[in-house]
């Protein structure tokens, strides 16, 4: 089991990497690691709560206060502390990624396996549905779903679920397609035929022989999707379909509220949540892209050969 975990984590790839690819991978892992750290210890790092408007003595923070000793990144138009909201925002982002990606992996992988192995009309039908979902503008679909699930705005967990589920629907086709293609390929391999000749049941063939060999592309789609999930969440928040500001901190919502500030010369309300989005997406994309390159022997850079 340990060997298995080793295989799917980027650590093994880190050992194989070299040169620019190695720098990309390390940088990406560092950024992602930093955000996970911040999300875990948000309570300790942030000086105030994300929905806090007053000091302990009851006086208000005041709105649009420039960065100072009390509020190192200033306050928003609504009177929240920007620094605290950006810190707590990582928590929301990671929760949404987790919900969205894990749901879409489970559903997409199962559908892909079934579709590729059984083929026939089921396969044709599922491919059609997947294509239809692909053809839809993803944000529009996410908006429609978030309205269906939560009626527009909502609390922390229902908001995360709404955002997560709407992203899930967009991502299922990606896992489905990758898994279906791998299943179709592996189904032709001699070791699967050899199991068939022995009279193995379909379940045994699917899970013992096909599934475990088909998972190698998943970490790559996983990381690339994670960054897209954040962008979709931010987009939802920006358009006002995200989480209620008193229920959870969310970068997209904060950006939306800071639109008017930009022309007034109030830069601190937009720069920080905006940079947070850019940084997380950059970090995850760096990891994903370098994993993608490393998984392909043709793209993988190696140390120069030496002639003894």
């Amino acid at each position: 089991m340990l060997k298995r975990i080793w295989k799917i984590t980027p650590l093994k790839q880190l050992r194989m990497s070299f040169g620019v690819q190695r720098v990309m991978l390390i940088l990406g892992l560092a950024i992602v690691g930093f955000f996970i750290f911040v999300a875990t210890f948000a309570d300790l790092i942030a000086p105030y709560d994300f929905a806090q408007l007053q000091y302990e003595d009851g006086t208000y923070f005041g709105s649009q206060i420039p960065p100072s000793a009390e509020h190192i990144w200033g306050t928003t138009v609504g009177g929240f502390d920007v620094f605290s909201r950006v810190i707590f925002g990582t928590r929301t982002a990671i929760a949404v990624i987790f919900v969205a990606v894990s749901l879409s992996i489970v559903i997409g992988v199962l559908l892909g396996l079934a579709s590729g192995y059984i083929s026939g009309w089921l396969d044709r039908f599922l491919v059609l549905v997947a294509d239809a979902v692909y053809a839809f503008p993803s944000l529009l679909l996410a908006i429609a779903l978030s309205i269906v699930i939560s009626g527009g705005r909502s609390g922390f967990w229902s908001g995360i679920l709404a955002a997560g589920l709407s992203i899930t629907v967009i991502f299922i086709p990606q896992y489905y397609r990758a898994m279906r293609a791998e299943t179709l390929r592996i189904k032709q391999e001699a070791f699967v035929e050899s199991a068939k000749v022995l009279g193995a049941s379909n379940g045994r063939i699917l899970f013992r022989h096909i599934f475990r060999n088909a998972t190698r592309t998943l970490p790559i789609i996983f990381t690339l999707n994670a960054s897209e999930a954040i962008l979709t969440l931010a987009g939802l928040g920006f358009l006002g379909f995200g989480i209620d500001p008193t229920m959870g901190a969310e970068w997209g919502y904060d950006l939306n509220r800071s639109v008017a500030d930009v022309s007034a010369g109030i830069w601190w309300t937009s720069i920080f949540p905006g940079s947070a989005i850019v940084l997380v997406v950059l970090g995850i994309t760096l990891v994903g892209e370098s994993l993608n390159d490393l998984a392909d022997p043709r793209l993988r850079k190696r140390q120069v050969a030496v002639i003894e």
Binding site: M16, E189, A190, F191, E193, S194, A195, K196, V197, L198, G199, A200, S201, R204, R208, H209, R212, N213, R300, R302, Q303, V304, A305, V306, I307, E308
Partner: protein, 551 residues
Amino acid sequence: MSNLLKIENLKVSFATDGGSNKAVDGLSLELEPGKVMAVVGESGSGKSVTSQTVLRMLRETARTEGLVMISGQDVLSFSRSQLRRARGELASMIFQEPATALNPVFPIGWQISQAIRSHKIAGQTPSKKEAKELAIEMLTKVGIPNPAERYGYYPHQFSGGQKQRILIAAALALKPKLIIADEPTTALDVTVQAEILDLLRSFQQELGIAILLITHNMGVVADLADYVAVMYQGKIVERGSIREVFYEPQADYTKKLLNAVPKILPAEPKDTPRPEAPVLVEAKDLNIIYPGRLNTPAFHAIKDLNLEIRAGEVIGLVGESGSGKTTIGRTIAGLNRATSGSLQVLGQELVGFSEKDFRPIRKRIGFVFQDPASSFNPLLTIGDCIAEPMAIQEQTGDKENRARVLELLDAVQLPTAFADRFPHELSGGQRQRASLARALALRPDLVIADEPTSALDVSVQAVVLELFAKLQQELNFAAVFITHDLAVVNQVADRIAVLKEGVLVEEGAASRVMQAPQHPYTKRLLASHPIPDPDLQAKHREELRRLTPGA
């Protein structure tokens, strides 16, 4: 300085994940104009890398050192544009797989004239018309019928042998003095191979073109080469004229290699009678048809087959690609569906069978696959793979399975420690032995072996065939041995069935079919099979000429 090609102290290394890998280590050889030098060796010996170095076709991860001269010019110091001109003008290449060497979306004539027009002839780029004329002239020379019309055909409209001819035409269009042929006939059937070898020979003799021939097939060497260089682990272990190497080999490795090559030597035909034994497989007027898709007609793979396999006998199914030999093997194993007629396997009718009825029969059938690289699940240990039959069919405990696995590994002469290794940690020959162990796990009555040795090197093949014969005698299972290699089937089979385009043309005792073939197709097949002996092969070639009408 009369050498056309001169390679001196060539060293090539590749960068891999595990550090540098030395592929060629201090190789030197010379080739005179108009001669054929064969470079032979097993996989991994560096023979292909050597051939690719001559025109610098190596991947970016390679580092090259040494000297490669063609017609007195140092190829390794060429600039990109010099190199581009050299490819095609100084020397050109023919590859192993004609099916993938042509671009499927362009007409073949266009591809040849494109190659011609990217070079200068007599100081200027040839016009489209000149290039087309030259392309048609070359197509005529390589024996493509009706070349002016076929100039506009696409690659899929030609057979494999014709594609190889077209590639030879393209390679010779700019009149290079040297051709590098990397396994030019390996992907082709023997009868087509004989034709291509003839074509290469005629170019060598009539146009004085030198050929650097890379091959693993000693029969091809005996047929075509003037000189032989034997490679082993990146070094040349022996070099000499073809007669020296074949008749007085010096290096131990060469002797071992020549001994391992299966041969069909002339002998008295013996028509041994069939032993009285229960019939395990009986096909009566069996037809197998693959249904066509929209616009493509159905493919009639097997036509009215009548065949009997008795307990304890080894039947060799021989034929060229498309003959249906694999289809028969897969149908007996229940991997394909039979269409009509009757096929009784171990008492079960297989025309219109249901998987439920056949499942209990499956444990009495073992199957050995062609490619040892893909016939094991890469994530399971060898022990787990061999235990699969027991786990599926007998539901025995892990402990019993384990004991049986170790016993089986011992029977196929593999160390029992291999049970805990993963498939990629074994060599091809070791994997094929493990594959044999898996097929024999349930003590089957019938084993189907589909080209079990065609992916292996000759010395490994010899060991696996010997093991197969030994186990067959000990356990006395019946076997269907499917192969395209006549010499291999000669070695293992009691009876031989020859197939051509789905029709069984001849069937009989092995010695009788091999030494006194009746059917003209069997005769031609045997005559096309090159003998790894230069003198015998020269006579053999005459016989093939006699058998081929109009040649």
